[in-house]
Subunit: 354 residues, 2 copies
């Protein structure tokens, strides 16, 4: 079978790391006899917005809705487009309208990447953050009253549905069950956020009953972030709401040295819609245009895409190639103390794939 991949480089360094991602995907596809077809799209970008006054064509769903996956660079630059236009008109739209209700991000200390945490070595930190990706704190319900007076107030609802909470918990428990440690940690804040978070806890407890083989615990988000720093070895699968998952999946990669190499999947597990794979780093305006961006986040996202498509061997070969590349100082980009540029690093990974 041939996989049809929608390729969307987007903005900023998204455009610079995408060619390296594609290079490595192609190398791995060749070695593992996987047939890939790429369709390139220029929307979900500032350039497209400038030409068309909107981030995406009206028929964007027809254009990419039948693909097997979306391979995405970054969006959100230059700042002159407001977030509610750029992000809510692309990335968050994909998540909602393609029902990519799982955001999945590995937290893994890799060889060659110095840990900001004292004394931690590769192997010490290796877990997944599973984030609810469609509802929760990122809601569209709320508003403002009495503008420009002393009585002014704004309100925004966090919304948790039974469907939304249960399906992300099920995904997380299943992931935990598939791993050697079989350990799930739930992020909560039911002692302070007194309505939605106790509901989350209640559903975790109910779901846990269906997975008697999984050991689980929960921490309030405040002490959980502290424990990411103090005890990152405690975790195996960590599940959180849209906001808590967002925080933990930036903090986790920071604890392993850099968000520059972190990948992510925005996944619709049922396969009713394409899932989207993107690096965590975003468009990085501060270094865009210099050719120095680290392509590993993009490349690793490609490995996750292969995994998702069921091409486990091809995915694994990319992750191993990344590990071998990062272990060599000269092959790393500047942000990791190396001297390779984006292309050199991407080529190195492609060469290492076997």
């Amino acid at each position: 079978k041939q996989y049809r991949i929608a390729v969307i480089p987007g903005d900023g360094i998204g455009k610079e790391v995408m060619p390296e991602g594609l290079r490595v995907l192609e190398a791995a596809a060749k070695k593992h006899n996987v047939s890939l077809h790429f369709d390139h799209f220029d929307f979900a970008s500032y350039d497209y917005y400038e030409k068309h006054g909107q981030m995406m064509p009206d028929d964007w769903k027809e254009k990419i809705g039948k693909h097997d996956a979306i391979y995405f660079g970054a969006v959100g630059w230059p700042a002159k487009i407001p977030d509610h236009v750029s992000l809510w008109g692309s990335l968050i739209k994909f998540r909602r309208e393609f029902d990519q209700y799982v955001s999945l991000r590995p937290v893994r200390l890799m060889p060659g990447v110095p840990s900001p945490l004292a004394g931690r070595k590769p192997g010490d930190i290796d877990f997944w953050v599973v984030r609810e990706n469609t509802e929760g704190e990122y809601s569209s319900v709320g508003g403002r009253m009495f503008p420009d007076t002393d009585r002014e107030f704004v309100t925004q609802q966090t919304v948790m549905t039974r469907t939304g909470v249960d399906r992300i918990l099920k995904f997380a428990f299943e992931l935990a069950q598939s791993r050697p440690k079989k350990h799930l940690t739930s992020a909560t804040k039911s002692n302070g956020i007194s309505i939605t978070m106790p509901y989350w806890d209640e559903r975790v407890e109910a779901m846990a009953k269906k997975f008697p083989g999984v050991k689980w615990d929960k921490y309030h988000i405040d002490i959980l972030t502290a424990n990411f720093v103090l005890h990152p070895d405690w975790f195996d699968v960590v599940v959180g709401s849209n906001l808590f998952g967002d925080i933990l999946s930036d903090l986790g990669p920071a604890c392993t040295g850099t968000i520059g190499i972190a990948p992510s999947g925005n996944i619709n597990p049922e396969g009713d819609f394409p899932s989207l794979f993107e690096p965590v780093h975003g468009s990085a305006p501060d270094i865009a245009g210099q050719g120095i961006a680290n392509p590993i986040g993009m490349i690793w996202s490609g490995a996750m895409m292969f995994e998702h498509l069921g091409e486990k061997e091809a995915g694994k070969s990319i992750v191993e190639a990344i590990e071998r590349t990062l272990a060599e100082r000269t092959l790393r980009t500047k942000d990791l103390g190396g001297n390779a540029d984006t292309t050199a690093c991407g080529k190195a990974v492609a060469d290492m794939v076997d």
Copy 2:
């Protein structure tokens, strides 16, 4: 003038660290000719709840509302009382009804406390987290519909009022202005939480105009937590909503080695109501009853209380005594690799006060 302090040890290790806090307060008061009067209260504790079926007497406000400050241990143990009874019936009630709208917590790497962050030394990390303490994500507005069906959902409103947001920002900007670096960082998430957080940003911008001498920036909470780990030296005063401030003021102390020594103030700056000073650690059921709890968080909270009362010299003498005590391995408690028990550590600090 004599200061009247309401002393509430509460639960768990709160009862164990309180005597050491009082010991050091008395020592510093004597050296600096400050007159303190302590009134002891047994409510806001499990013991009180067991006897009376509620956390506090009906006239709790009359009992402690006229004091100059409240010196508080910890609440929230044993777990058999639900949070909405124990916490919402005491600590959060104080914050709301005494309008303690500022939560203030230092993040400072102290001598003798090993940093979990590689290569950081005392002096490298020294900032304040200013947290809105009465509204925001900790609201009482929301509910559940269609219980026990597939349509079930819960919703909870985040509420930000002009009054509530502006006064915390004013406090934070004033604090920044009083410090050498004059630098304020605002925690936001306006790219995802699309109604309340853009409002927060808007008010920050408006307030910044009144403080032209303060340099300010903002980060989304996800990357901000990452930067606490990667660049803790960037910060001077960090201001956040109730939830974001809660997270940052646990993560910050974790980055400086332990939340066991972190102090906090719940402050009503106008002095209409007493402010409350408490260690960050909570009741710590896992080590309660063993006499090994670290009393430094309690003691340091006493220093913050002196500061708040205007007794700067007495406050400073306690902080310096803490620094000298922590520098000696034998005077530290077990959690910091020492062998002192709670009392020995407290006595050591009291002896060091000058």
